[in-house]
């Protein structure tokens, strides 16, 4: 298998029974593995809710380290829709030309620097800075803020030895509290200020609600975007002919982005809490117990995707769930798609070849399943054109 390949650990369980089981801090999870079940249960918010105790639908559960409800992520319809509607237009800004030009400037500079360095550790020296700088555009905050975010390291919540490091989470929460306070005293045109001026349920959003949106924006788009960038570059290292093809056929870049999201599935799964006794794949699910929607498994379901373990750059029909599905589908998807599109176009333009010099895979452990989601570290060498 090539270095950049990501195996599908769920295939057997998906075919045999359709679900897997794992424990997480004594709050077990039934993982749904089939495309159809994942979509069906993602849509069925009445039976599988998001509005449980804050942190509980995240796996591993963040209940012990977080009281703030992430918004609109940890709400159910109809309230969910009211909050989400406040944010849709803001999170669509990445389709504007002006936004894309700024993003392209950032990505150009990142790639120029990588070419100058030659050999670099991709995550710390490329993907993390790129993700952080791009986030200043999404939040409409000064570019210099990204220095702070870069200094936090790759995981907002997770340290090397402890998956749920509350001291690390507090760095983010305290930072956000501070920014909200600043925006409230001196409103500007950043996301904090826009949210503070917004109304839902007939009143202004509270600072706690604004904090809930901001935590989601920071946490949801960090590891995921970093992994998507890193995995895409690792893929091009192993497949120089693909980079050459995208140089010749830039019109398929959009399809390639969707295919990378399907194949890499930067977020493995997301939980829901059952509101009643029910069943999935003929397996009993008790009220107040957890299921998860395993996007990564659904995206390799051979009943939907032909040759699911292959990257087909111009896959024409690609109903992947890499950005989730239904009401809660990723609000940051427009931003993420633009980052990847511009990244690929710029790599194709400027880079001749990429060589993987050394790497350590990041393997997640979910009960019986071990899944590669990206790399703990990966040293690569860029060769310019």
């Amino acid at each position: 298998m090539k270095k950049s390949a990501h195996a599908d650990p769920f295939e057997k369980a998906r075919l045999d029974k359709g679900f897997g089981e794992m424990n997480d801090q004594d709050d077990p999870v039934v993982m749904l593995l089939r495309h159809k079940d994942v979509r069906k249960c993602a849509h069925n918010w009445k039976t599988f809710q998001s509005g449980a105790a804050p942190g509980r639908i995240v796996i591993p559960s963040e209940v012990p380290i977080r009281d703030t409800r992430q918004i609109p992520f940890e709400l159910d319809p109809p309230l969910h829709g009211e909050y989400r509607a406040l944010m849709e237009a803001w999170f669509k800004r990445p389709i504007e030309k002006n936004y894309q030009e700024k993003l392209a400037d950032q990505i150009n500079a990142s790639i120029d620097q990588a070419l100058e360095m030659g050999s670099l550790e991709l995550i710390k020296e490329f993907s993390l800075p790129l993700q952080s700088r791009a986030l200043t555009l999404l939040l409409n905050t000064p570019y210099s803020e990204s220095d702070t975010w870069i200094s936090w390291g790759t995981h907002v919540f997770r340290s090397e030895d402890d998956p749920l490091d509350s001291s690390k989470a507090n760095i983010l929460y305290d930072y956000i509290d501070e920014q909200i306070e600043k925006a409230s005293q001196n409103p500007g045109e950043d996301l904090y200020s826009v949210l503070l001026a917004s109304e839902a349920q007939g009143r202004k959003l509270s600072k706690e609600e604004v904090k809930g949106v901001m935590i989601l924006t920071f946490a949801g788009g960090r590891d995921t975007v970093i992994n998507a960038i890193t995995n895409t570059i690792a893929y091009f290292a192993d497949h120089p002919q693909s980079l050459a093809r995208l140089r010749e056929e830039p019109e398929i870049i959009g399809k390639a982005v969707e295919e990378f999201i399907r194949y890499f599935s930067p977020l493995t799964h997301m939980g829901r809490v059952a509101t009643e006794d029910t069943q999935v794949c003929e397996h009993a699910v008790k009220s107040d117990s957890r299921i998860s929607l395993c996007w990564a498994s659904a995206n390799r379901d051979a009943s939907v995707f032909e040759n699911p373990n292959e990257i087909i750059l111009d896959r024409k029909i690609n109903p992947h769930v890499g950005f989730g599905f239904s009401h809660h589908k990723c609000l940051g998807a427009t931003h993420a798609r633009e980052i990847l599109k511009i990244l690929i176009a710029t790599l194709a333009e400027k880079v001749q070849s990429i060589e993987i010099e050394d790497y350590q895979e990041n393997i997640e452990h979910w009960g019986e399943f071990q899944r590669k989601v990206g790399y703990d570290s990966i040293r690569v060498k860029f060769q310019g054109r």
């Binding site: 159809k36 979509r39 069906k40 849509h43 669509k92 959009g254 399809k255 982005v257 969707e258 939907v304 896959r315 024409k316 029909i317 690609n318 109903p319 992947h320 769930v321 950005f323 599905f325 239904s326 589908k329 998807a333 427009t334 798609r337």
Partner: protein, 102 residues
């Protein structure tokens, strides 16, 4: 050139012309409200849902299997629902009228 008319949720009727590509792409190029085409046309986002005027449904035909699966969980689905990214523009669609789904 093929003329296609979109009726948006605020009852505005907009007729545009195209000769190739998908109906979704044509709508996005002309900024038709309610057609986002987030995924670029690979049938994964369902943000290009339209209702085909009954008289034209024979010309567009039924949704494919994967497309039907996507529509299954959409609100406001009708028997004339299609994802416009899966409608290729050709001469036979000239005069097509589509109502953008809410």
């Amino acid at each position: 050139m093929t003329k296609i008319t979109f009726i948006t949720s605020d009852n505005e009727s907009i007729t545009v012309e195209g000769h190739s590509g998908s109906v979704m792409q044509l709508a996005v190029q002309h900024g038709i409200k309610g057609i986002d085409g987030d995924c670029g046309g690979v049938c994964s986002c369902a943000t290009c849902h339209v209702h085909v005027a009954e008289d034209y449904f024979e010309k567009t035909g039924q949704a494919g299997d994967i497309e039907k699966d996507m529509l299954e969980f959409e609100d406001n689905v009708s028997e004339f629902s299609r994802l416009s990214c899966q409608l290729e523009i050709n001469d036979s669609l000239d005069g097509l009228v589509l109502t953008v789904a809410k």
